[in-house]
């Protein structure tokens, strides 16, 4: 039965919006329990050192101190990825960066905890530090970790799909460029906080500002030595996440342990400075890209290299490394593709996933590289992109299955909106239509709608939803997903309301509680709308079936004639014949007993079967195109982004207003990355964070934010709930390269290093004035001893997704 949508596609407010606007929402630090102690964590001021001794006797003697813990209390390592279990809640014998946690106290209040923390005496034996990608590649000793691929190399990846050399041989032009994307951080307004309560039944509850309560649950079970069934993790509403609250964190483990020792609830709230040390943000990546193209811009082969500065721990870094090479193939047709990636360890806060996880850096490099190729070929940068799009319903050279693909429409929208053809005047500066200093640039991108594989290997669903209907007509939807502000609680309510024909505000949403809600893997990889949405549809349709069976029997109407809308179940042929939704639940409960249903979602299997094929596959890919308009002052080097036109292929908007909010927020964050945000370090060893404060870590205020013109392309994807794809991360991706390309259009200099600061623009302009090429950026990459690539025949070569057996495969 075709059914008009009543809820989907409408701009409802979020179900939790009012509570957030009146101060009722309880974030982690808002939780206060009777007899609660306060925890403070002593952090290393040494970047790399052996811990010779820790003397906590003075701290323990301070009145009001209840416990002090050190690395000895946490012998079991953990980490988000099974392959990098390299963290201890408190350092055991060695510190690896300034900010590494060494000891923790629980005390009667914050003042006492702070004083006690400062009474702990730690003796260190300093070690030489590793502070850059180059150093990590070149210097083997001292090793920051004793695992990985030798020296200070954490991970090397080398994959080749088809023969890239054959591709280059076919090309009319082969171009090579080098780029650097500086690291930056999430900077959520809410500092991480957690409260643990170990109760008299020896069960522990942790409330925490986390995006991944399920993974925290698993880490706690491992580290605390408690049965997982005795651990409850409740993710409080996140005051911003952006990927920065996706790892299990040391402070979460520490407060649990302190609560177990003291028998009292224990809270920790990080200072802003500590949040900078938690980091797990954007990896600094040095990149080299070499592409062969035909005269019309068709790509014949591409070789991409990534050199990642991972910081001091593994975090999601192995996945980040693969992601930095995975999605180059999903926008423009790349028939042969080779990727080499290396992640290094350095004595700096660990890098991890930030909005766009591992992909904004290569996307920036690729889109600026393409712009340079277009100039060399004399092609319009729009045309070189628009003419060579990956077709929908295809499989890429690296075995990513593309479903719906709306990038062409996205490009058309932003080209039209920005009046591109009137304003872009080709590559010869003598023909320019815009005044010198004004410029426009274009870039495109794509992002996954959920990672195809979970972080730990299992055959269970990635998302589960449970529905309970009560005889008063109440509907409760329970799901492990975590609302980090993106609106995932609301998506559950909208979808269940749509299927059951009720109002979203009739529904109680219970989420992110490992005791009460079925597992959802968490708010990362833009997976939530697609995966929880599909699980919610399944659960709600199962409930709907029970309702219509009971109502059909009562009314003597065929089941297929019944519709659910406006809080009624009724005969579509005689709409006045029907019952209220609440009556329908009573009928169903009378007939079937208590009404509860479940739904679950597992992504489709990926066609790739080679080692390393786990990162990149997704049920669907979102697409974005952006045009940026900039004003560059040649005297100061200051870049002002005046306007961004952005079109996003959303599949279908579950709620267009929230989609636009995500687009605008993504543009904002991309703007911060390209113009000003950077995690940089100082001192002669380059390991002291330059400015761990919100004042000095520059992020855009209202005064720097640009105007945003948003277009939504609705081309429903068969794998999305009602056709919906992601929007939380993808629209960030085209913004940095669109701005970089616009800067070149404005003043004729290429800034091949993010962020584009006034200093870099001025240096490039001076360079150009001296008759040189007017480029600011890296020139070389360090000499990595790459393993023989794992070779895979592409689908068009008749490959089946497995690696070729006759070549040496590195482990």
């Amino acid at each position: 039965m075709a059914k008009d949508l009543n809820i989907i596609g409408k701009p409802f407010r979020k179900v939790d919006a009012r509570a957030k606007c009146v101060g009722q929402t309880k974030f982690a630090d808002d939780i206060v329990l009777p007899r609660m102690l306060i925890c403070k964590i002593l952090r290393s001021h040494q970047p790399h050192a052996l811990i010779k001794s820790i003397d906590a006797s003075k701290a323990l003697a301070l009145p009001g101190v209840f416990a002090v813990v050190t690395g000895k209390d946490f012998p079991v390592p953990y980490g988000i990825l099974p392959v990098s279990q390299d963290e201890h809640a408190l350092c055991v014998d060695k510190v690896r960066f300034i900010g590494d946690p060494v000891a923790a106290v629980a005390a009667i209040d914050e003042d006492v905890a702070f004083d006690a923390m400062n009474l702990i005496e730690v003796a260190y034996e300093p070690l030489n530090t590793i502070s850059t990608i180059e150093e990590a590649v070149l210097i083997d000793e001292p090793r920051i970790h004793d695992y990985g691929e030798g020296g200070n190399i954490h991970k090397k990846v080398s994959l080749e799909f088809g023969s890239v050399e054959e591709g280059f041989a076919e090309a009319d032009l082969v171009r090579e460029d080098t780029f650097f994307y500086e690291g930056n951080t999430h900077l959520p307004l809410e500092q991480h906080a957690a409260v643990a309560h170990y109760d008299t039944d020896r069960k522990i509850t942790l409330w925490s500002s986390t995006q991944t309560p399920h993974y925290v649950h698993r880490a706690l079970a491992k580290v605390l030595g408690l049965p997982a069934s005795h651990i409850r993790v409740i993710a409080t509403p996140n005051g911003g996440g952006f990927g920065g609250k996706s790892d299990p964190f040391n402070h979460e483990v520490v407060v649990c342990k302190l609560s177990m020792i003291t028998g009292r609830p224990v809270k920790v709230t990080l200072t802003r400075e500590e949040v900078f040390y938690c980091h797990r943000g954007r990896h600094p990546i040095l990149m080299k890209v070499k592409t062969g193209v035909k005269k019309d811009g068709a790509i014949t082969g591409m070789h991409f290299q990534s050199y990642l500065d991972g910081g001091a721990y593994g975090s999601y870094g192995v996945a980040s490394t693969f992601y930095s090479g995975a999605l180059q193939t999903v926008t423009y047709d790349v028939p042969r593709y080779k990727f080499q990636g290396v992640r290094t360890f350095t004595n700096k806060p660990p890098c991890g996933p930030k909005r766009g996880h591992g992909t904004p850096q290569p996307r920036y490099a690729l889109e600026v590289h393409l712009d340079k190729i277009a100039e060399q070929l004399g092609l319009d940068p729009v045309d070189i992109r628009r003419r060579h799009l990956v077709p929908p319903n295809s499989v890429t050279a690296n075995y990513l299955r593309i479903g719906s693909m709306g990038l062409g429409q996205c490009i058309d929208k932003v080209v039209e909106g920005s009046r591109w053809k009137e304003r872009f005047s080709g590559w010869d500066p003598r023909n320019r239509k815009l005044p010198f200093g004004k410029g426009i640039g274009i870039a495109c991108s794509s992002y996954i709608c959920g990672a195809g594989l979970p972080i730990y290997w299992n055959n269970m669903p990635q998302s589960g939803v449970q529905l309970r209907l009560d005889r008063q007509g109440g509907v409760c939807v329970m799901c492990g997903s975590t609302d980090i502000g993106q609106g995932s609680d609301s998506i559950l309510a909208y979808i269940v309301a749509e299927v059951l024909g009720i109002d979203p505000f009739d529904i109680r949403v219970v989420t992110a509680d490992t005791d009460l809600t079925p597992v959802d893997l968490g708010s990362y990889s833009s997976r939530v709308t697609l995966m929880t949405g599909n699980a919610a549809i399944q659960a709600a349709e199962r409930a709907r079936e029970l309702l219509v069976m009971a109502v059909a029997e009562k009314l003597g109407v065929p089941i297929e004639n019944l519709a659910l809308a406006e809080r009624r179940v009724f005969d579509v042929e005689n709409p006045e014949v029907g019952v209220s939704f609440a009556e329908a639940v009573v009928l169903a409960e009378s007939k079937f007993g208590t009404i509860g249903t479940v739904g679950s979602y597992s992504p489709p299997r990926s066609p790739g079967k080679f080692k390393g094929s786990g990162v990149g596959p997704s049920p669907a890919y979102s697409y974005s195109a952006a045009v940026a308009e900039v004003d560059v002052n040649p005297d100061t080097g200051i870049v002002v982004v005046e306007r961004v036109w952005i079109a996003h292929d959303i599949g279908r908007s579950i709620n267009p207003m929230l989609v636009i909010g995500q687009v605008e927020g993504s543009v904002y964050m991309g703007l911060g990355e390209i113009l000003m945000e950077e995690m940089v370090y100082r001192e002669n060893r380059n390991v002291v964070h330059k400015f761990p404060s919100m004042l000095e870590y520059k992020s855009p205020t209202t005064m720097e934010m640009c105007e945003v013109k948003t277009y939504l392309i609705e081309d429903p994807d068969p794998n999305g709930p009602y056709g919906a794809k992601e929007v939380g991360q993808g629209p960030l991706l085209p913004v940095p390269p669109a701005v970089a390309n616009a800067v070149y259009n404005a003043v004729g200099v290429r800034i091949d290093e993010v962020p584009i600061t006034p200093e870099k623009v001025l240096r490039a302009l001076k360079d150009k004035a001296r008759g040189r090429d007017g480029r600011f950026g890296p020139d070389s990459v360090p000499p990595v001893d790459w393993p023989e690539p794992l070779r895979v025949l592409t689908p068009s070569e008749g490959g089946d997704g497995t690696e070729m057996p006759h070549v040496a495969v590195h482990s």
Binding site: K14, A17, C21, G23, L189, I660, Y668, M694, S699, T702
Partner: protein, 174 residues
């Protein structure tokens, strides 16, 4: 264990006479959150950098992390909990909620109070005036645009004017 004897003050909090005793070095932010259990006021840095902890003191926005609690004596303090009129939300609270100006919602209390101060002074502010008034508050979720729209819609409603939000703000451009 109490190392500082508490000081006692009286002031007006959200329209109600209030008495509270606290350690004298505490900031107004800490007094509100820890001694009066009004956790609607948030903190992002506790160094005066992010605007998240803004409250109104005698009608003017201040950063509660930079003001001593003792300095609130005899003053009139308004927090997010006092912004609604009973069960009736302030027009700004309604529009922030309805238009998606609150994503994670963590910065929203600060933005709402600063916006309230702005609309008292300037009932029909231009977009540029709104940007300037809110420039001391950081938001990492929204890109600020939905916040501007919420302020503009609330301002129009408070002036008793009909105001239609452009369709593109909700559905995107055609």
């Amino acid at each position: 264990m109490q190392r500082h004897s508490k000081k006692h003050i009286r002031f007006t909090l959200n329209g109600e006479p209030t008495e509270v005793a606290f350690a004298p070095h505490k900031t107004l932010l800490e007094v509100l959150r820890e001694d009066l259990n009004l956790t609607g006021t948030k903190h992002g840095c506790e160094l005066g950098e992010c605007g998240t902890c803004a409250v109104l003191v005698d009608g003017r926005s201040i950063l509660s992390c930079l003001m001593l609690g003792l300095d609130a004596e005899d003053r009139d303090v308004k927090t997010i909990e006092g912004m609604a009129d009973g069960a009736e939300l302030h027009p700004l609270q309604q529009t922030f909620a309805d238009l998606g100006a609150a994503q994670c919602g963590y910065c929203s209390p600060g933005f709402l109070l600063v916006a309230e101060e702005l609309l008292k002074k300037s009932p029909n502010p231009s977009r540029a005036e709104i940007q300037e008034a809110l420039s001391g508050n950081l938001c990492r979720c929204t890109g600020y645009i939905k916040i501007y729209e919420a302020v503009e819609l609330a301002a129009a409603r408070m002036r008793g004017e009909e105001f239609e939000l452009p369709k593109e703000s909700v559905y995107g451009l055609e």
